[in-house]
């Protein structure tokens, strides 16, 4: 088990280096820091102000190798970038100049409070609906469900949010339409609607995918064997199909992570929740490149952790996988 885990982690390292390279390309090569300084400081900024801004952030160093006498050869944009990210020094915001580590730390809790429940609720809902559809397969109800799932995934996520806020919160007044208050139980009433919206956004696509997986399982030979034993329909689904289907599902669940990022990006700003999504949303509006690039790096680390967790779960659940 330990060596398996180690192998998975070692496999993630070159990928992380690739991500660092991509962020470097985006932040130093495709667009030079000087252009960026002009964008952020405005057209009327003095050359001195720009030089100062760049120097403060180390953007005025040579790109790959520092050949100036008396300075380290590796004191360059590229090596500093790699060094900083590899040691989780995320730098400062381009706009506010705040330490990004602090900014992300602050946003993490509110974001986790809405995305984690949304993640579990969404998967549980999608699995149950998909299983039920397989249970009633080849009936009009299943056809309707399949159509509804496609219709749900054809609506852009913002429309769900706008609908949720305008109708459920403002018109029907079931939930607060805006705000966030971290005080015990009162937090819950602010969180329910955002959580529900993130869960619903991905539901259509999930139900469709899971249904296809379960339908594939139910056509397998071992299902016929179970039927031939006299196993009831519900046991067939909830024991035989579910356990086999879950093994296929586990590998897909990590694909949810990007959806959660998008969910919190769209929902948090709408409901005024001071999480990572909101930070990112403001960074986009203000043209805060450093914050966006840092979130790319953090996002991919999260994804890679998710991937490793997935592999571990997969190995634990599927008896055919040997860990050694």
């Amino acid at each position: 088990m330990f060596s398996y885990l180690l192998r998975r982690i070692l496999y993630a390292i070159p990928i992380l280096l690739g991500v660092i390279l991509i962020t470097f390309l985006l932040s130093f090569v495709v667009q030079s820091p000087a252009t960026r300084a002009k964008v952020i400081l405005g057209k009327r900024a003095t050359p001195a102000a720009i030089a100062d801004w760049m120097h403060h952030r180390g953007y005025d160093k040579p790109r790959f190798f520092n050949t100036k006498s008396g300075e380290s050869l590796l004191d360059s944009q590229f090596f500093n970038h790699v060094k900083k990210l590899a040691t989780f020094r995320l730098g400062v915001s381009d706009v506010t100049g705040r330490d990004l580590k602090e900014v992300f730390k602050e946003g993490a809790i509110p974001s986790l409070l809405i995305t984690m429940p949304a993640f579990f609720v969404g998967i549980a809902l999608a699995v149950s609906i998909a299983l039920y559809q397989v249970f009633v397969r080849d009936t009009p109800l299943d056809t309707f469900g399949a159509l509804a799932a496609v219709a749900m995934m054809s609506l852009p996520p913002m429309v769900w949010i706008i609908f949720g806020q305008a109708v459920v919160a403002l018109s029907l007044n079931y939930f607060p339409a805006f705000g966030y208050d971290l005080h015990g139980l009162s937090t819950v009433k602010f969180l329910i609607l955002p959580i529900a919206l993130i869960a619903v956004m991905g539901l259509g696509a999930d139900v469709r995918l899971y249904r296809a997986i379960f339908l594939e399982e139910i056509a397998q030979d071992y299902i016929r064997t179970a039927q031939a034993k006299g196993v009831s329909n519900s046991r067939l689904l909830f024991v035989h199909v579910l356990k086999n289907g879950m093994i296929s599902l586990i590998t897909l669940i990590v694909a949810h992570l990007p959806l959660l990022v998008m969910g919190s990006l769209l929902v948090e700003n709408f409901f005024g929740i001071p999480g990572l999504g909101n930070t990112l949303f403001l960074a986009i509006q203000q043209g805060d490149f450093a914050t966006v690039f840092a979130s790319v790096y953090l996002g991919s680390i999260l994804y890679l952790i998710g991937l490793i967790l997935t592999d571990i779960c997969y190995a634990l659940v599927d008896p055919r996988i040997r860990l050694s």
Partner: protein, 281 residues
């Protein structure tokens, strides 16, 4: 003696894109308790469909039971409710299938899969592990107490098929339907499984339907044989007399296809379907 199973004029269709296709066209046969019947035919002849139909295991749709009766101890299987059908499956009629590697659920241990059947149909059993061991032992699995903790992929093909047989026997059915039980296995293992079935016939009193495309394996195990061709039973009789004196040209053709040890042949015999169809109509 009252027949265990009586199939009368059974006809089954499959709905396909190109319209309904007749898979079984009005067949009839009956079986006494403890008797072994071999149903022989090529793929597509309707023999497996007939076997699955006995407990209504064919997925509906596309399968349609057009007409006929399947009388199990006098009750028509086709008129039973889903709940009653589940009571028969495994308990009265049990199955083993062609491909043991896919027919066993890959994520449950052998023990759990056999125990599931025992729990369903034999509530009186208290020590389930002992019962599982007993049946694994019966089908010739060495060290059954240890082997039952294995997952299917940890067993060889022959062992998997033995486990399937143990699972089928564990509910003490009156009829075992063996649907091409040896086709997916190596030739040496095939012989072992057929031997196993022969021995079981002696030890356990139960009827067997052996569905196969291979005339070569039925002698010595089947009391009677039904030859199916294009959804119909074209020949039906005592195994010995059919083998010795086949009446139907298709049966003759099938028997000629059995490779004989020591026989000198230029090439293997094949069946000319066009000619046969013209002859049979």
């Amino acid at each position: 003696m009252k027949p265990l199973l009586e199939v009368r004029n059974l006809a089954i269709q499959f709905a396909t894109e190109g319209g309904a296709v007749d898979a079984v066209k009005g067949i009839s046969f009956s079986m006494e308790p403890g008797e072994t019947l071999a149903i022989v035919g090529e793929s597509g002849s309707g023999k497996s469909v007939t076997g699955l139909a006995l407990t209504r295991l064919l997925p509906e749709p596309p399968a349609i039971y057009k007409s006929g009766e399947i009388l199990l101890e006098g009750r028509d299987v086709l008129k039973l409710s889903p709940g009653e059908l589940r009571g028969i499956r495994g308990k009265k009629i049990a199955y083993i299938f062609q491909e043991p590697s896919t027919s066993l659920n890959p994520v449950f241990t052998i023990r759990n899969q056999i125990a599931e059947a025992i729990k369903l149909h034999r509530r009186e059993v208290t020590d389930i592990d002992a019962e599982v061991v007993k049946y694994l032992d019966l089908v010739g699995i060495v060290d059954p107490a240890k082997r039952m903790r294995d997952y299917p992929h940890q067993l060889s093909g022959g062992m998997q098929q033995r486990a399937m047989i143990a699972m089928a026997l564990s509910c003490q059915p009156d009829l075992l339907v063996a649907d091409e039980p040896t086709t997916a296995l190596d030739v040496t293992i095939q012989a072992q499984i057929i031997d196993e079935l022969k021995q079981l016939k002696q030890r356990v009193k139960m009827a067997i339907i052996l569905i196969t495309h291979n005339f070569g394996i039925i002698s010595g195990i089947a009391d009677r044989v039904a030859v199916m061709f294009r959804g119909k039973i074209v020949e039906y009789g005592e195994t010995a007399s059919v083998l010795k004196n086949p009446q139907h040209p298709y049966t003759r053709a099938l028997i000629e296809c059995i490779p004989q040890l020591g026989a000198k042949r230029e090439r293997l015999t094949t069946i000319d379907h066009a000619a046969l169809a013209a002859e049979v109509g």
